[in-house]
């Protein structure tokens, strides 16, 4: 603040006359603005969340994805590792370049009633662990003939050095399969969920001849696949039946009490199916929950709740991976076909819902031509248009903020004073604002802004606010009180507002504003 004094008066000149390290002290009475803030409707709810009509009437738009189907609710590829240990049955001589192990595997991915013929891997890897007990180097080759990347089959070759006497050499590696296209029809080409691969072992052509005796370990290999997640899958996706219970918090958790009357609300629930399979969705229930009052209101919408919603299958625009033509199903909820207004007037902290989701209700009607892209499966989107025409009575918002205590330092020169909060209110709402300082135990130690009512703007005959009404709130601030404020590390904000002429519904217009300014009238100690 001493610097602010400099700003105001440009009068540090005389301080240069003083003895070094020897400063006179005196008090000055300052009368100065400190901060200002201007709040409009857009400042409060943001441009992206509002629509403004030509006459300035504002509509709040809430557009949110409330549900996305996770892949594992359709299918999940489990990790699979197979171990092979083979010992010499007799006296065997292995010459350089001799293939001593060649094991084809036709791995079943165990997808239950899902039958996939093709997949493109988004992430995951093949895993090979091999140990060499022989005194010559060996070469292991991991082949997946039906896994291709840019047309080239998957093949990895690893060389294990000769084992020391009585010891082993080993290899343990992961091979990335991201981007590989898997043909899951197996060795026969007619199966599903089959991932065929081969691991072969061969003595090194540059090695030595090895004489094995009975019981010597020849093969010690573990192979398989881990963490496979497809980007794309094709086949028959089964008849998955999923029940989902969800909760969406809707941001009124800081609202403590009060009541609100709403003119109208319209909501559009859009179900989006990006899976290449038919689906059915049933919203079995939806409710708004006000935990403060213990009030729960269930959504009553006969055309929507507990009704089967059939979703057509999406279509592919080209060979994978190509964009998908999703299908949509929309339901309109408003005052005429639901009690959605009552749901919102309940001032809920959260919305609960129960949704049943079923895939391929008619079975494999596509002949294994279902498909899915795992990044986009099934989504539910809720768009709410809330024309800001409402009446509110004593809506009380409470929030607690942790703040960093301010070390007085050079700012400790402020003496007793009175601060004025000047509010020019262009809203037809009566506001009250209180800042409550809390101690470590959360107990109130002091509060600012008493009396704390910011008067509303006057209404004209059309219930539209005209101009603004000025309120000046005086805040005595003694030195002790200021220190208390600076040293607090927790502050509670209590904001209460009511619309004028409650229960008259009032429309919010975009030109409404609230200008706040804090003016200080205080003693400043020059040091």
């Amino acid at each position: 603040m001493k610097r602010l004094a400099f700003l105001l008066f440009i009068i540090l000149f005389l301080t240069t006359c003083k003895k070094e390290n020897d400063s006179a002290q005196w008090d000055v009475n300052l009368l100065t603005p400190i901060f200002k803030a201007s709040l409009t409707v857009n400042d409060i709810i943001g441009d992206s969340l509002s629509l403004t009509a030509p006459d300035g009437a504002v509509t709040l738009v809430f557009d949110s994805n409330i549900y996305s189907t996770p892949l594992d609710s359709v299918f999940q590829i489990k990790d699979t590792l197979q171990s092979t240990i083979f010992s010499s049955p007799g006296f065997i001589t292995l010459t350089p370049g001799f293939t001593f192990y060649s094991q084809p595997n036709d791995l079943d991915l165990d997808l239950q009633n899902v039958e996939l013929s093709q997949a493109i891997i988004k992430s995951g890897h093949a895993h090979l662990t091999a140990k060499n007990h022989m005194s010559t180097a060996v070469v292991y080759t991991f082949n997946i003939p039906k896994a291709t990347l840019n047309g080239i089959p998957f093949q990895k070759i690893e060389i294990l050095d000769a084992a020391p006497p009585g010891g082993v050499t080993d290899f343990n590696g992961l091979f990335d399969l991201a981007g590989y296209s898997l043909d899951l029809t197996g060795v026969t080409g007619t199966d599903y969920n089959r991932l065929s691969y081969t691991v072969t072992g061969q003595t090194s052509t540059s090695g030595i001849t090895v004489d094995l005796i009975p019981g010597d370990t020849v093969v010690d290999v573990t192979s398989g696949f881990e963490s496979l997640i497809p980007l794309y899958a094709k086949g028959y996706l089964g008849q998955g039946d999923v029940s989902i219970s969800g909760t969406n918090r809707i941001g009124t958790g800081k609202l403590l009490n009060g009541s609100i009357l709403i003119d109208s609300i319209s909501a559009t629930l859009t179900l989006k199916n990006s899976i290449g399979a038919e689906a059915q969705a049933i919203l079995t229930s939806m409710s708004s929950v006000n935990e403060r009052t213990g009030t729960t209101i269930n959504l009553v919408a006969p055309d929507f709740v507990n009704r089967t919603l059939n979703l057509n299958r999406a279509s592919e625009t080209g060979a994978p991976p190509s964009p998908v033509n999703s299908t949509y199903y929309s339901i309109q909820l408003d005052n005429t076909n639901s009690n959605i207004v009552a749901l919102i007037e309940n001032l809920p902290e959260k919305l609960n819902y129960n949704l049943n989701f079923k895939l391929n209700p008619l079975g494999n009607v596509s002949g294994h031509h279902d498909f899915l892209y795992t990044d986009e499966l099934f989504d539910a989107n809720l768009k709410v248009n809330f024309p800001l025409r409402f009446a509110a009575s004593q809506l009380l918002f409470v929030d607690t903020e942790y703040i960093t205590p301010i070390t007085p330092g050079n700012d400790d020169n402020i003496g007793d004073g009175t601060f004025k909060l000047i509010a020019d209110n262009g809203f037809p709402y009566e506001f009250s604002l209180q800042l409550i300082m809390l101690n470590e135990a959360g107990q109130a130690t002091d509060s600012l802004f008493v009396p704390d009512i910011i008067s509303p703007a006057m209404l004209n005959g059309n219930f539209r606010a005209e101009g603004s009404t000025r309120t000046i709130i005086s805040i005595p601030l003694s030195v002790e009180r200021r220190k208390s404020l600076l040293n607090t590390n927790r502050i509670a904000v209590r904001a209460r507002f009511s619309t004028s002429n409650y229960p008259q519904l009032l429309q919010v217009y975009s030109d409404y504003f609230l200008n706040l300014k804090l003016v200080g009238d205080f003693i400043y100690k020059i040091r």
Binding site: F9, I11, C17, K18, D27, L31, I403, L435, K517, Y524
Partner: protein, 422 residues
């Protein structure tokens, strides 16, 4: 006889001589052909104003609390334009006869340290600075024509003088000094048309700012760490008869060239302040934690647009003085009238009347009555005592009268000199 002559000249010159920019009775000339050398250490200080009281100034400089009563005491004296000045000096010098065959010629070398401040300020400036802007609610504080300058510098000086004998009882003394100045510190503030309006409710402050600020190289970037150098000169002339003395002098005529790292700041701006714009007011935690924002850099730097480093030349405060002294009662009583003018300051012409009385060969007392300068009427006493072995003590003050009325008086000062001839 030699001793009588020596003492005569001491008293004689004490009543006549003026030095520095204050009235201090130290002689410019040794005027003693019987002695080969004279060394002297002297110092003086003063604070004078036409508005600021001694009590206020003393407590300000001593770092004490300035109460409302003290401010009220100053306010009673304030007019549309007010001035104050302060100065503190000390010096050591050696005077000698460079030509052993011609004792009429004398030379001087010495070292001097000087600090000078003076200012002219409007009434509103004092009130704004010491009382705050609340009293200007709904009014405009006019800060126009505020001026302040402060110098601290050292001088290494040398000079030469000569006695010209016109007849048995008529002599002319003429001398000059050249000083090499070493600038230590300087600040100069020159405020043009500057006004500050405070809204009656404090909702905004409007300022129309026009000012220039000059200051030295505070970072001491010059390799010598000297912030400035320059030259100055003193000229002395005295015409002496058996019963009278006419003295004319020009002192401290010169300047200091401050180095190229000196700073000039020009402020020429309209400024409207109606509070710091706080956004996201509902994010109160964030709002409160913007405490680290430097308000001065955020705001005042916006209107200080023209700041440059450059060489700056400043003229030193100088004095031109003249006086006439008449001796009566066998040179026991001396009466002096004089006038001086302090240039490069906001002082007015100063008129001096002095009367001195020699009690005996070792003690002399004089009184001085002064009108003008930086303040109103003031009066002082000076005393000279001659010790054995040609040691001399000179002390006094020209501000005894305002210092007696400490709380309401507006000037103070004192001087002291100790010298020895051999």
């Amino acid at each position: 006889m030699k001793q009588k002559l020596f003492f005569f000249f001491i008293l004689y010159c004490n009543t006549l001589s003026f030095a520095q920019t204050d009235i201090v009775p130290f002689s410019h000339f040794m005027k003693d052909t019987t002695q080969g050398y004279s060394i002297r250490i002297s110092g003086n200080y003063f604070f004078t104003s036409d508005a600021i009281t001694n009590g206020f100034a003393t407590d300000y400089f001593n770092g004490k609390i300035l109460t409302d009563d003290m401010k009220d005491g100053v306010s009673e004296n304030l007019s549309a334009k007010n001035i104050f000045a302060a100065e503190a000096n000390w010096e050591a010098s050696l005077t000698f006869h460079p030509d052993t065959n011609n004792r009429k010629v004398e030379a001087i070398v010495g070292y001097r340290s000087r600090s000078h401040s003076d200012a002219r300020f409007p009434e509103d400036f004092f009130n704004l600075f010491f009382r705050g802007n609340k009293m200007f609610g709904g009014k405009t504080a006019d800060l126009t024509d505020f001026f302040f300058q402060q110098y601290s510098y050292r001088q290494v000086f040398f000079g030469i003088g000569n006695e010209f004998t016109l007849s048995k009882n008529k002599k002319i003394y003429a001398g000059t000094e050249i000083a090499i100045n070493q600038g230590i510190k300087f600040l100069k503030v020159d405020v043009g048309n500057t006004k500050l309006y405070t809204d009656p409710g404090g909702e905004f402050i409007d300022a129309d700012l026009h000012a220039s600020i000059y200051t030295d190289d505070s970072a001491a970037q010059h390799p010598s760490r000297l912030d400035g150098t320059g030259y100055s000169a003193n000229l002395y002339f005295e015409y002496e008869t058996e019963r009278s003395l006419i003295s004319i002098s020009a002192e401290n005529f010169g300047n200091i060239h401050w180095n190229k790292w000196s700073t000039k700041v020009s402020i020429d701006s309209l400024f409207h302040f109606d509070g710091i714009d706080v956004r996201d007011i509902f994010e109160i935690g964030d709002s409160i934690q913007v405490k680290d924002i430097s308000l001065d850099s955020t705001y005042y730097m916006n209107f200080i647009r023209n700041k440059s480093e450059q060489r700056i030349t400043t003229k030193l405060p100088m004095k031109i003085s003249g006086s006439y002294t008449y001796f009566t009662a066998g040179h026991k009583i001396s009466t002096t009238i004089g006038v001086d003018l302090l240039l490069n300051t906001y002082s007015s012409i100063r008129y001096i009347l002095g009367v001195g009385y020699k009690f005996n060969r070792s003690n002399f007392v004089g009184i001085t009555l002064v009108k003008g300068g930086y303040t109103d009427f003031h009066a002082g006493i000076n005393y000279v005592h001659l010790f054995p072995w040609r040691m001399k003590l000179e002390l006094g003050s020209n501000y005894i009268y305002p210092m007696i009325t400490y709380k309401t008086g507006k000037s103070q000062g004192a001087y002291l000199s100790l010298s020895k001839s051999f």
